[in-house]
């Protein structure tokens, strides 16, 4: 066992950036307020980088999301590995043309002649009363665009490993950070290296039901474990870690074992990533299922401001317990 270091996700992201920039002079950083003179990014994840690596490699940009992503694409085509920060996930919508029509498709449309090895880091999540335009989980949008990978870490060790994995990846990656996971300390192996994208992790073994989740909701699923145990239910929890491409093998193997599946995400339930996963489980394991596949996600509503409404927007551990109980009959 390697030595463990306690840190939160912000520190993990920062450590990954230092390592990646140290190891490869082609790694660049750009985004609003990124350099130390502006505070090293709004959540401080980029702190110290410009002082160490210079403002040629760590560039503060104007508030120009299309220009940020466009500059990252062009530099990536020419062999650099830009890590572009879009302050909040809702603001990716302003740059959707660059992300969806260009970053995601240029490898394919060029017949493999060019590639776009860039990372877009962005932050989201309900819980901060930022309401309708600052807290959406849009990973489903990006997962629906062929050609871009989507990563949603849930804990500091994964933040570090997956960010290193995303930077090493030869294709564009959307790296989704969430407010609910940023400040909670966790154990990170001192030698935590890159985690390859597309691999899920079983965070809790169990035999009666598979709960598939990612990002902030993994913790909520873990919080439901006590209530499930009380009801005599043994739950297996899978943290997907990568939403696209998602780890079908790991999910199907677990559901084949337990016979029941529940998908939990913060993104709105309608047309969310859970629908894709549920449909795949039905197609592959129909005869082996002991109950219909269930999904829990946000209600079909913008993220609300009012605290009780916002609390109701995000699936609670109690709702997870109740839903699983209903699947046991």
């Amino acid at each position: 066992m390697s030595e463990m270091v306690k840190m939160n996700a912000i520190q993990a992201i920062n450590a990954a950036m230092f390592e990646a920039m140290e190891a490869d002079p082609k790694v660049l950083v750009l985004g609003e307020d990124i350099a130390d003179r502006e505070g090293g990014g709004v959540t401080g994840t980029m702190r110290g980088l410009s002082s160490k690596f210079g403002t040629d490699r760590v560039c503060t940009t104007p508030i120009s999301e299309q220009a940020i992503i466009g500059a990252a694409i062009g530099a990536a085509i020419n062999g650099y590995k830009p890590v572009a920060e879009i302050m909040l996930m809702n603001f990716t919508t302003v740059a959707m043309d660059m992300i969806f029509n260009h970053a995601a498709k240029l490898r394919f449309m060029s017949g493999g002649q060019t590639s776009v090895p860039m990372v877009i880091r962005t932050l989201t999540g309900a819980g901060w009363q930022t309401a309708g335009q600052h807290a959406d989980h849009l990973e489903g949008w990006f997962a629906h665009a062929a050609g871009i990978k989507v990563v949603c870490p849930s804990n500091p060790a994964d933040y570090k490993g997956l960010l290193l994995g995303a930077i090493a990846d030869p294709d564009p990656v959307l790296f989704v950070e969430t407010g609910g996971t940023l400040f909670i300390p966790g154990d990170v192996p001192a030698d935590q290296g890159a985690i390859p994208l597309g691999k899920a992790k079983v965070v809790q073994e169990g035999s009666d039901v598979t709960i598939i989740s990612y990002s902030t909701m993994v913790m909520r699923c873990q919080m439901a474990l006590a209530g499930l145990a009380e009801a005599g239910i043994s739950a297996e929890i899978i943290d997907l870690r990568t939403i696209s491409p998602w780890d079908r093998e790991a999910v199907l193997a677990s559901v084949a074992k337990t016979g029941r599946a529940l998908i939990v995400h913060e993104a709105i339930r309608n047309f969310g990533p859970g629908a894709e996963i549920a449909a795949t489980i039905n197609e592959e394991l129909f005869g082996q299922l002991k109950a219909p596949v269930r999904r829990l996600g946000g209600p079909y509503s913008p993220v609300p401001f009012s605290k009780p409404l916002e609390d109701a927007f995000v699936t609670s551990p109690e709702a997870i317990v109740e839903t699983v109980k209903g699947m046991m009959g």
């Binding site: 660049l28 040629d56 490699r57 560039c59 940009t61 104007p62 120009s64 999301e65 299309q66 220009a67 992503i69 466009g70 500059a71 990252a72 694409i73 062009g74 530099a75 990536a76 085509i77 020419n78 062999g79 650099y80 830009p82 043309d97 660059m98 029509n101 260009h102 240029l106 490898r107 394919f108 449309m109 060029s110 017949g111 493999g112 002649q113 060019t114 590639s115 062929a146 050609g147 990978k149 030869p170 294709d171």
Partner: protein, 331 residues
Amino acid sequence: MAELSNAPAPTGEQLVDIYRRMIRIERNDEAIRKTVRLGRLTMPYYSARGQEVIPSAISSLLNPDDQICTIYRGIHDMVAKDMPLRPLWAEIAGRIDGTCKGKGGPMHLTHPPSGVMVTTGVVGSSMPIANGLAWAAKLDGSKRVAIAYFGDGASNIGAFHESLNLASVWKLPVIFVCQNNGFAEHTRYENATSVDQISKRAAGYGMPGYTVDGNDPEAMFAAAHSAIARARNGEGPTLLECKTFRFHGHVLGDDDFYMTKEEKEAAMAKDPLPAFRAKLIADGHATEAQLDRLQSDIEAEIADAQEFGLNSPFPSADELRRDVFAEEIPA
């Protein structure tokens, strides 16, 4: 508006080189239109006939490793940048020997060996990406420049404004080349654009902006020379607005209802090709026979490319699983 710096006049050899590029564009365009009309190629075709001077003058001053980012109406930009015609034809025919294995097609050609890095079908999107190409050139410590080609309509898109601002703040070696043909699809310039000259917008972004007669090879050469020199010297971006006209409507088959017959005829009377040819001969830079020879060599090159492209096989369905990511997608 800034004044053009004193660029050296083009030599006779440079003028003939510009003409060579123009005639290669024009002959190729003619061949594509004919092939589409005969039903041997099925594709939306955005002819740039009439706009030959702009990329030809610019490309005569570019090195092979200088890069361009162009648009759906950009085949002339690629041909001017010396893109080989065989893979070009195979690509517009959707064949496996195309630059992009037939997966990009006429609106998305890419050919890095010629410096054609991205072709986009989304209006205004060439500029943000050209900035990135230029940023890399600067970080590499090279003297490479990047050209963003776009139309007058594209100058009204947010990406134009973001790109000019960023390029100026970062002093990028990029040249924004607006090929102003007076129309955005069917919309007349003055019905959609707030300024009488797009080059005036450069002032808002702290860079020089010039309006140039895009049908005049010598004026285009001077403007391109000044902008390229500025970029190579690390002095930052330039906006060139090049006034021109497109002869064949927005897309092939367009009946030009949105302009008057007189207006069109007057513009076509200013066709830059025959005038330039006559001038080269009159000024003693080339003989009639030399230019005829140049043209017949180009025609032979095009006939060969067309034959090659139309006879290349179509890609197999497996290609859908390749190049989505670096790793092939499982079947």
